[in-house]
């Protein structure tokens, strides 16, 4: 694997770290299997791309993308909490609807951002080579996001959200409005995922309506790889695990694809992903089996 390919994998891993953090909030904190992310990731990309092309400041555009993602999460939460649709199904409905929404936002299936100013533009040409600048910049954003999510989950408000996912009855008895926590959690989760989409569009130079397919699996893979590697040792470690898992996942995929011996090609990506996630899911079980 060349140096460029390696740093490219790290960069993509860092972009998807936002997805992993969002998936962690939904799946692990709230215990809400949320597939909305397959729609909110390209939504973030679409909103950002369209706004940047329209001349909006890329930071503002990314902020709007997060708001759009939060709105998508709230739609899923409304379907689940208010209309009592099973959580998984509610999120699938939103995901399907978002495909059309994303096409409407962009007006076509694909928007190019090649020569537009992005969040990263000011940092190119400062002496560091581009393939270092991108992961460095996104890495800094990831650190900020991890610290913010960590501080939140260890605050009074965050404890209420964690209790909602862990023991809703107890949470209510402690005065926690569990419905509100689901709204809030789904909004936060999908805002993070949409930010991932926004950064994806800006680092790759395009937004594509199909780029969301399998986002949930990638996010879940990152969360599970992180858990397998670092174990359950508190919130901060779990969040770092999400980021690490996301990066390692991309490197593993890159390795698998660039090893000629295996004879894999880019179109095998989804198969490799599924195999990797299955492996990460089965590994802890095999370990336990070995110990017993």
């Amino acid at each position: 694997m060349s140096q460029i390919a390696f740093w490219g994998a790290v960069e993509l891993g860092l972009v998807y770290a936002f997805v992993a953090l969002g998936v962690f909030l939904a799946f692990r904190v709230l215990d809400f299997p949320d597939l909305t992310v397959d729609g909110s990731f390209p939504l973030g990309a679409a909103v950002t791309a369209v706004l940047i092309i329209a001349g909006v400041n890329p930071w503002l555009a990314s902020g709007v993308a997060m708001v759009a993602g939060a709105a998508a999460g709230i739609v899923t939460a409304i379907l689940n909490v208010r209309f009592r649709i099973l959580n998984l199904l509610a999120s699938i409905l939103t995901m399907i609807a978002l495909f059309s929404v994303n096409l409407r936002v962009m007006g076509k299936p694909n928007v190019a951002l090649i020569n537009a100013d992005t969040m990263l533009s000011p940092f190119f040409g400062l002496g560091l080579r581009d393939f270092y600048v991108r992961p460095l910049f996104i890495g800094l954003l990831v650190v900020v996001a991890v610290i913010a999510v960590w501080r939140f989950l260890e605050s009074d408000a965050g404890l209420a959200m964690r209790a909602t996912g862990a023991n809703a009855r107890m949470a209510r008895a402690q005065g926690v409005d569990t419905s509100r926590q689901i709204y809030l959690g789904m909004a936060l989760s999908n805002a993070l995922v949409a930010l991932g989409g926004a950064l994806f569009a800006q680092t790759n130079g395009f937004a594509d309506v199909t780029s969301g397919v399998g986002t949930i699996v990638v996010g879940l893979a990152a969360v599970i790889i992180g858990e397998t590697l670092l174990g359950a040792r508190g919130i901060l470690i779990a969040l770092i695990g999400c980021v690490l898992g996301s990066i390692l996942y991309r490197i593993a995929i890159q390795l698998a694809l660039s090893t000629d011996m295996l004879g894999l090609q880019a179109s095998d990506l989804n198969l490799v992903t599924a195999a990797l996630v299955t492996f990460a899911l089965v590994l802890p079980r095999l370990r336990r089996g070995g110990a017993a």
Binding site: S155, D156, A163, N167, R172, A173, Q174
Partner: protein
């Protein structure tokens, strides 16, 4: 003070499975009174607690806690007035959170929750002191996950959790039923100590007539959704378990077929 006024609870109204769980229950408990509630299975004990906690919204009647009419308020909305310890040790706390995080959660019961860290040094110290009072050695395990504790330890922590924030009433739902006899006795004595020290208004549902008479100031018996016995003061002091059983037979005019009532 808590007040139930002619509470009717009908589950599954208008369906073939319709069940009258409470049939005109009226009850006034003065501040600082510890009431024990007995009755056979299906008598309506848990429903009474549910009505007070907000889990069950009555079909008709009025619920007053403190000076507030809470009849239509849900569990979360009235949590500031009601503290609870559940029968199932796993139900009253979060296994996935640490001991101190559970305490932090309970310390803000019924209050708004902001973005300030849940566990500052001051709060940590306060929680540690409260847990140390239990003499279970848990003060050295404050960062352990709650699900590493035994059922009895969890109930003990739940009792502390119930008293961290103020409340108008403490509801105890057979909170020793799932414990071994030794631990049940420890939890009962702890309950007694906490309730009398803090002069709490408390309602304790129990399956044990012995417990019902040994603890508290007043005992009520429910049957088929109605209050059939209500004793307090001197008449309660001289009351024996055997008298209670005899009374139960007299009131209902039937034999007692629930062994659980006789145990203890």
């Amino acid at each position: 003070m808590i007040k139930l006024n002619d509470i009717q609870v009908i589950f599954g109204k208008g369906t073939p499975l319709q069940k009258q769980a409470l049939n005109g229950v009226s009850l006034t408990v003065e501040e600082g009174t510890f009431v024990t509630v007995i009755g056979s299975n299906g008598a309506g004990k848990s429903t009474v607690l549910g009505v007070l906690a907000g889990d069950v919204i009555p079909t008709s009647g009025q619920v007053t806690i403190g000076n507030q009419d809470v009849t239509r308020k849900g569990t979360a909305a009235r949590a500031g007035l009601v503290a609870r310890v559940f029968q199932d040790p796993l139900a009253g706390s979060c296994g996935a959170l640490s001991i101190e995080e559970n305490l932090a959660l309970a310390a803000r019961r019924g209050e708004s929750r902001g973005l300030a860290p849940a566990l500052g040094p001051k709060r940590r110290e306060h929680f540690r002191e409260r847990i140390a009072e239990l003499n279970l050695g848990l003060e050295n395990r404050m960062r352990d996950r709650m699900d590493l504790l035994s059922g009895g330890q969890r109930q003990a922590v739940s009792l502390v959790m119930a008293t961290l924030a103020g409340s108008e009433v403490l509801l105890l739902d057979e909170h020793t039923a799932a414990l071994d006899p030794g631990m049940a006795e420890f939890i009962m004595n702890l309950t007694q100590k906490i309730v009398s020290e803090r002069k709490l208004t408390a309602l304790m549902v129990t399956h044990s007539m012995r417990q019902a008479l040994d603890f508290g100031h007043r005992t009520i018996m429910l049957h088929a959704g109605e209050v059939v016995l209500d004793v307090s003061g001197d008449s309660r002091k001289t009351l024996q378990v055997e008298d209670l059983i005899a009374m139960f037979r007299k009131i209902r005019g039937q034999t007692l077929d629930d062994d659980a009532l006789l145990i203890g």
